[in-house]
């Protein structure tokens, strides 16, 4: 077992990792930028070292500084958390080269899953369904029409150099193909000076459902069921829940097996997540794999009574997993509260928290690094509190979350808590009837108007 772990992260996840380390009797080293001097993770760690100025590139992404600290403090492992260097293959390799265990997958695993083309090929080779699409770029409109027939309408024509929704067109039938082909390519040429396009099947109103998996160093993999993360704004998750209201036992079994196949195919080590898109017919398609612990891991923990950070550390130190799968024994919902103003286009609201009351009581878990008097730095992401509600049934979990958010007080800054309260009141949400389109259509009621 490790003697000392360096946490290469900040905020709530750094604190989360330190807590489990303390429980396991493992010493902790925190790293921090000058902007995080007063951060909670710095105070809770056994040792803390300032590694750079506020900008992430010079601090939390500063590989030489982090490795330096690990050597100076004799840390034998590094936990990268999520974001920052957690899926940086180079960092994983450098840790290994310096005799420091990177708590996560290997450089190879990260590379295999990080490159979308390689990941898709691996999935195809192992019989894991992926979003059907062309194998490369399209040569001509005839090529496109042929591929579209093969894939099946509706299809999405996408610019290879694209982003931000530009150079994309949904094509619903052959009749409109040529006209939309021209429009998409013109837009792509204008926006990216590259009009090359390819096709993917357009999955209508998908559900974003991900499967948590864990693999040990011996080739064993198990799954820990799903999380529904369809409530997203601009591809940022706002609220997650498990079990998914859209799930059936059969679908969970199929998706679980697919996720295990995917992980076994690359001999995945560590805790990871396979993200899928699920259409209204409950066909599921592999989207991508995240080779790290996720923000929303807490809801899986609450319904399986496991500590996923502990599992990461155990796996990294050579423990074998149990090889059984884990299923939700209760219902859990998480709300990610950000320091943003939901009534003003989600403008970030850094500043000082002048008053704070966190909810508690039966079935409520709060993960946060903030405290009264804490100044939220403007250099990092805006998530400040994660509230999780657990109950026997989904309705009770919703009631608990409503109660908890009513109780939550954060003064001095604006937060997205009021938005979550509105989401929980929404009829479609309460019925469990939502897809990734939910937030697009959701009307945020501004109480100031």
């Amino acid at each position: 077992m490790f003697n000392k772990i360096l946490i290469a992260n900040r905020g709530e996840i750094a604190l989360r990792i330190i807590r489990t380390c303390k429980e396991m009797g493992i010493k902790t080293v925190a790293i921090y930028s000058t902007a995080d001097r007063d951060s909670l993770h710095v105070r809770f760690a056994d040792e803390a070292v300032c590694i750079g100025p506020a900008p992430s590139a010079q601090s939390y992404l500063n590989i030489p500084a982090i490795i330096s600290v690990a050597e100076l403090t004799n840390a034998d492992a590094i936990h990268p958390g999520y974001g920052f260097l957690s899926e940086n293959a180079k960092f994983a390799r450098i840790c290994t080269e310096h005799g420091i265990k990177f708590i996560g997958p290997t450089e190879e695993h990260i590379n295999k899953m990080g490159d979308k083309a390689t990941a898709r090929k691996t999935m195809i080779a192992n019989g894991v369904p992926i979003t059907p699409g062309t194998d490369g770029l399209l040569d001509s409109v005839e090529d496109g029409k042929r591929e579209a027939l093969r894939i099946g309408y509706p299809v999405m024509l996408k610019a290879t150099a694209g982003g931000g929704g530009k150079g994309m067109r949904i094509i619903r039938n052959e009749a409109e193909f040529e006209h939309l082909w021209n429009a998409a390519r013109q837009e792509a040429a204008a926006s990216f000076a590259n009009d090359a396009v390819y096709l993917e099947k357009y999955i209508e109103e998908p559900h974003h459902i991900e499967i948590q998996i864990a693999g040990d160093q011996y080739g064993n993999v198990c799954h820990l069921s799903e999380r529904d993360c369809s409530i997203q704004r601009r591809h940022q998750k706002l609220l997650e829940e498990t079990p998914s209201p859209f799930m059936t036992e059969e679908l969970r079994h199929k998706m679980g097996e697919a996720a295990i196949k995917a992980a076994k195919a690359i001999k995945y080590e560590g805790v990871g997540t396979c993200e899928f898109l699920v259409d209204k017919h409950r066909n599921f398609y592999f989207m991508e794999m995240n080779t790290r612990i996720q923000v929303e891991h807490g809801i899986t923990e609450e319904v399986t009574k496991l500590d996923l950070v502990k599992e990461q550390i155990l796996i990294a130190s050579g423990a074998k997993i149990s090889q059984r799968n884990y299923y939700p024994q209760a219902h859990a919902i998480e709300c990610r509260i950000n320091a943003e103003d939901p009534f003003n286009n989600f403008r970030p609201s850094p500043g000082q928290i002048t008053g704070l009351h966190l909810p508690g009581g039966n079935g409520i878990r709060v993960d946060t690094h903030v405290y009264t008097g804490y100044k939220i730095p403007s250099n990092y992401d805006s998530m400040i509190v994660k509230v999780v509600a657990v109950a026997q049934t989904r309705n009770e979990a919703i009631d608990k979350m409503r109660r908890a958010l009513d109780e939550l007080v954060i003064e001095g800054i604006k937060t997205t808590a009021p938005l979550h309260q509105q989401i929980l009141e929404d009829a479609a949400f309460r019925a469990g009837n939502y897809t990734t389109k939910f937030m697009e259509d959701f009307e945020i009621k501004n109480p100031n108007e």
């Binding site: 010493k27 000058t34 001097r37 710095v42 105070r43 056994d46 040792e47 803390a48 070292v49 300032c50 590694i51 750079g52 100025p53 601090s59 030489p64 500084a65 490795i67 330096s68 600290v69 050597e71 100076l72 403090t73 004799n74 310096h98």
Partner: protein, 202 residues
């Protein structure tokens, strides 16, 4: 509670004015007992991992406690931190998170006047801080001369020290000119980003 930084840095950095304390106490000790013997003794004891030492002689009463759990900051194998023995656990007075406070040898007077004097002068000096994490060295290599001493005049661009990280030695140049008033870090000790290294009178 300033539980920040690597322990040796805390011990030193917390009260560099304690240097005056130290000197005073050591002067006293010198007259009473063989200082070298005491230094060696403490150094040996720290390496073994003993948690407390109590000495009583006719002229000297010495009690030294080490942090609980052994040598978190004083590695038994002597890798990691290098601290001059007399400075090690003896005079920090800083309690660590769960460790026991370290106690100084007994003397009859506390030289508080030294401490406040040092703090007064401090205000008009500029501080040169470390631009990176690593190990601070006062010479380019053990056989070469020291870069700067207290009292030296420095100009912008002069190399003051090297900080080693991942086997690479980085020369740290002065960004200001003036006279070195104090060197705040011991040769060979770890430093963090922004840690004060030199006090300079501009």
């Amino acid at each position: 509670m300033a539980q920040m930084g690597l322990r040796p840095k805390i011990i030193y950095n917390q009260h560099y004015a304690d240097k005056n304390n130290e000197l005073y106490i050591l002067k006293k000790l010198n007259t009473m007992a063989n200082l070298k013997e005491i230094q060696d003794f403490i150094r040996t004891v720290s390496k073994i991992g003993i948690s407390e030492v109590d000495i009583q002689t006719d002229d000297l009463k010495l009690n030294v406690k080490f942090p609980a759990g052994g040598n978190a900051s004083i590695p038994a194998t002597n890798e990691g931190f290098q601290l001059p023995a007399y400075q090690m656990p003896m005079l920090s007075g800083m309690s660590q998170q769960m460790g026991t406070p370290v106690q100084a040898a007994t003397t009859t007077t506390t030289p508080i006047e030294y401490r406040s004097e040092a703090k007064e002068d401090e205000k008009k000096y500029l501080t040169i801080k470390s631009p990176m994490v690593g190990t601070f060295y006062r010479r380019p290599s053990p056989d070469k001369p020291i870069y700067v001493n207290v009292g030296d005049e420095i100009t912008k661009g002069k190399v003051l020290c090297v900080i080693e990280a991942m086997k690479l030695f980085n020369e740290i140049e002065a960004e200001i000119s003036g006279k070195i008033v104090k060197i705040l870090v011991e040769d060979g000790s770890p430093v963090e980003y922004d840690q004060p290294l030199f006090l300079v009178e501009p």
